[in-house]
């Protein structure tokens, strides 16, 4: 399946979203085609294994369909909204595990599953950083991932988290301080 690389891609997506809000399943199917890779990659990074990433990715899109009437294009693109749904599902997923140690165990134990195709690129430092990011709290983790990994603007993140842009910057600052503390502790 191919990405539509035409100049009007944002416009096409807006049209598809409107149609999907109007109960057009085919339009929603096309939105799925456009975004499934990115949602999967995002979730895979956070859960660290294929089986859970697949399950959660499927659920993201079903949840998105069910909530599509509530999506309003403010400052956030559709993919940012999907990322929020992904984040919430991942949080619930770990909550269901009832054990934060699970989170650490998954992140620590299975380095090779993180990036089987790019194992040489996944250096020790990147692995430490990933473990540290996954230990951050909900909003902090979300802001770090959306800003630095997914490339969203602060305005878009603010819209997704329903916060002011200034607050998002404060959260980012806090997140980086926590990351510094976690990494220092690990080095000791």
């Amino acid at each position: 399946m191919y990405q539509n690389n035409s100049e009007g891609q944002a416009l096409d997506e807006a049209m598809l979203v409107q149609k999907a809000i109007g109960d057009d399943a085919n339009a929603f199917g096309r939105l799925y085609d456009m975004h499934v890779d990115r949602v999967y990659r995002h979730i895979y990074y956070r859960v660290g294994n294929e089986a859970d990433a697949e399950d959660l990715t499927q659920q993201v899109f079903l949840n998105a369909w069910q909530a599509i009437g509530r999506y309003k294009k403010m400052a956030s693109p559709f993919i940012a909204w999907l990322m929020t749904i992904s984040h919430n599902l991942v949080v619930d997923f770990y909550r269901a595990k009832k054990d934060k140690a699970y989170l650490e165990a998954e992140a620590l134990a299975d380095d090779s599953s993180l990036s089987p195709e790019r194992a040489t690129e996944a250096s020790f430092e990147q692995q430490s950083l990933r473990r540290a990011i996954l230990q951050l709290g909900g909003d902090e983790q979300q802001v770090v991932i959306l800003r630095f990994m997914e490339g969203f603007e602060f305005a878009e993140i603010a819209s997704v988290l329903k916060k002011k842009e200034g607050n998002v910057r404060v959260i980012l600052h806090r997140a980086l301080v926590k990351l510094r503390n976690i990494l220092e502790k690990e080095r000791k």
């Binding site: 199917g29 799925y32 499934v36 195709e117 194992a119 602060f154 600052h173």
Partner: protein, 421 residues
């Protein structure tokens, strides 16, 4: 005075954009140096996650499941007949009808128009007055008795009709209604796949119907290629979407077939790959068409690996499959080398990429077969020259990109294909 977090964010932006360095930022805010530096270094370390992609088969299966969930949860009254009401008169709001009232409307319409109308409707196309009657009779056929395999066959026949309609509208130069037929194709194909899945869950034999879907969607691809070449630019997107739908259906059917009959799945996949190479050969000079056909070819080549993995996962012997694929790959490489000579320069990188990927996979396959004591055909020798140099360079680059430790499964797709639904 600027807040610390604003300074931090600005510095990160400037450094990432290349407007500044860490030292520049620290020099600009010396009183914050101690606080700022570690945070900047961490922020700059955070990179995009590795490019992990879901497997084609997962994407297909998930899409079918999603569409199934969506249609199951929609009111039963969402008949396609109703969607085309805009051709007859516009409906300002969506109304809900019971199944019984829909049937009643169709029966009344047929009574008013005469029995011949139902017959005449069968040749109608989107945009024609009787087209809703045609779709209505299809819906009624779906309600006739039959198990899920029978219903899958019916739905597949509707999908074939939609492709026929797409072709007819292109020939009659009526591209304005193409998207309606494409939507109908999407519906029919999803219905087919959903019924096959249900049939499988109920333990019915699905080998034949999945093979038919795979064959049908391969043919649809070829038809849609021709239609794509025919239609004006404003209609191409709809046809491209239909092609994507065919591929979705194809991969889904093939994944199911691979579990039932791996060798047949491998043979059919290789035949489909040859179809894509024929498209490449037929459209030498059309860079866009060649690139799309090569992408499709590569997706099918990746799928060859997935067929082996599916077979291995359920404990089947994959030697025969690997032998078939190795032999075919050798021929594919020769064909691509020949096509490369005739391609315009801007299309050559796409062919080189495809050939490099094929060669790497072929090498691995041949090694695996030789370890089992089976001699497989080696890749054809490419004559020294520009193609050989470029290929060698691409292979080196690809091998570095795909380089993984020995104990980690290889290949770009995912390797564990556990079908949990």
């Amino acid at each position: 005075m600027k807040k610390f977090e604003d300074i931090l964010v600005q510095c990160i932006e400037d450094i990432k954009a290349g407007r500044s360095s860490i030292e520049d930022c620290l020099d600009r805010y010396p009183s914050m140096r101690e606080q700022l530096e570690p945070l900047l270094r961490i922020a700059l370390e955070i990179r995009e996650p590795p490019d992990v992609k879901p497997s084609s088969s997962f994407k297909v299966k998930a899409r079918v499941w999603l569409m199934d969930q969506i249609h199951e949860r929609q009111p039963v009254t969402k008949w396609p007949w109703f969607r085309y009401n805009s051709q007859v008169k516009s409906i300002p709001y969506r109304r809900r009808f019971s199944m019984a009232s829909i049937i009643l409307v169709i029966v009344l319409a047929l009574s008013a128009l005469g029995g011949g109308a139902a017959y005449a409707a069968q040749d109608s196309l989107p945009g024609d007055a009787l087209y809703p009657v045609k779709l209505g009779t299809e819906q009624m056929r779906m309600m006739l008795p039959g198990d899920d395999v029978v219903k899958a066959e019916r739905a597949l026949s509707f999908a074939e009709r939609r492709v026929g309609e797409i072709e007819a509208m292109a020939e009659k130069e009526r591209p304005q209604y193409l998207s309606l037929a494409v939507e109908g194709y999407d519906d029919a194909l999803n219905m087919t796949l959903a019924r096959i899945e249900r049939a499988g869950d109920k333990g019915l034999a699905t080998g034949n119907i999945t093979a038919r879907v795979a064959e049908a969607t391969t043919k649809h691809l070829s038809v849609l290629d021709t239609v794509y070449d025919m239609v004006p630019p404003e209609a191409k997107e709809a046809v491209a979407h239909a092609r994507n739908l065919s591929e979705t259906g194809y991969f889904h059917a093939m994944a199911a077939l691979a579990k039932n009959n791996t060798v047949r799945a491998a043979e059919m996949n290789l035949a489909a790959m040859e179809g894509r190479l024929n498209r490449v050969r037929a459209r030498v000079g059309d860079v866009e068409a060649v690139e799309i056909a090569l992408q499709q070819f590569e997706a099918m080549a990746e799928f060859s690996e997935e067929i082996s993995q599916i077979a291995q996962a359920i404990g089947l012997n994959i030697t025969k499959v690997e032998e078939l694929v190795a032999e075919a790959t050798s021929i594919h490489l020769e064909v691509l080398a020949d096509v490369w000579e005739r391609m315009p320069e801007q299309a050559k990188p796409a062919i080189e990429r495809t050939m490099a990927n094929l060669q790497i996979r072929h090498q691995r396959r041949v090694q695996a077969l030789e370890q089992r004591g089976i001699k497989a055909p080696t890749a054809p020798d490419i004559q020294p020259g520009q193609l050989r140099e470029r290929l060698e360079k691409r292979i080196r680059e690809q091998q570095m990109e795909w380089s993984v430790p020995d104990d980690v499964p290889q290949g770009q797709g995912q390797t564990c294909l556990a079908y949990r639904r």
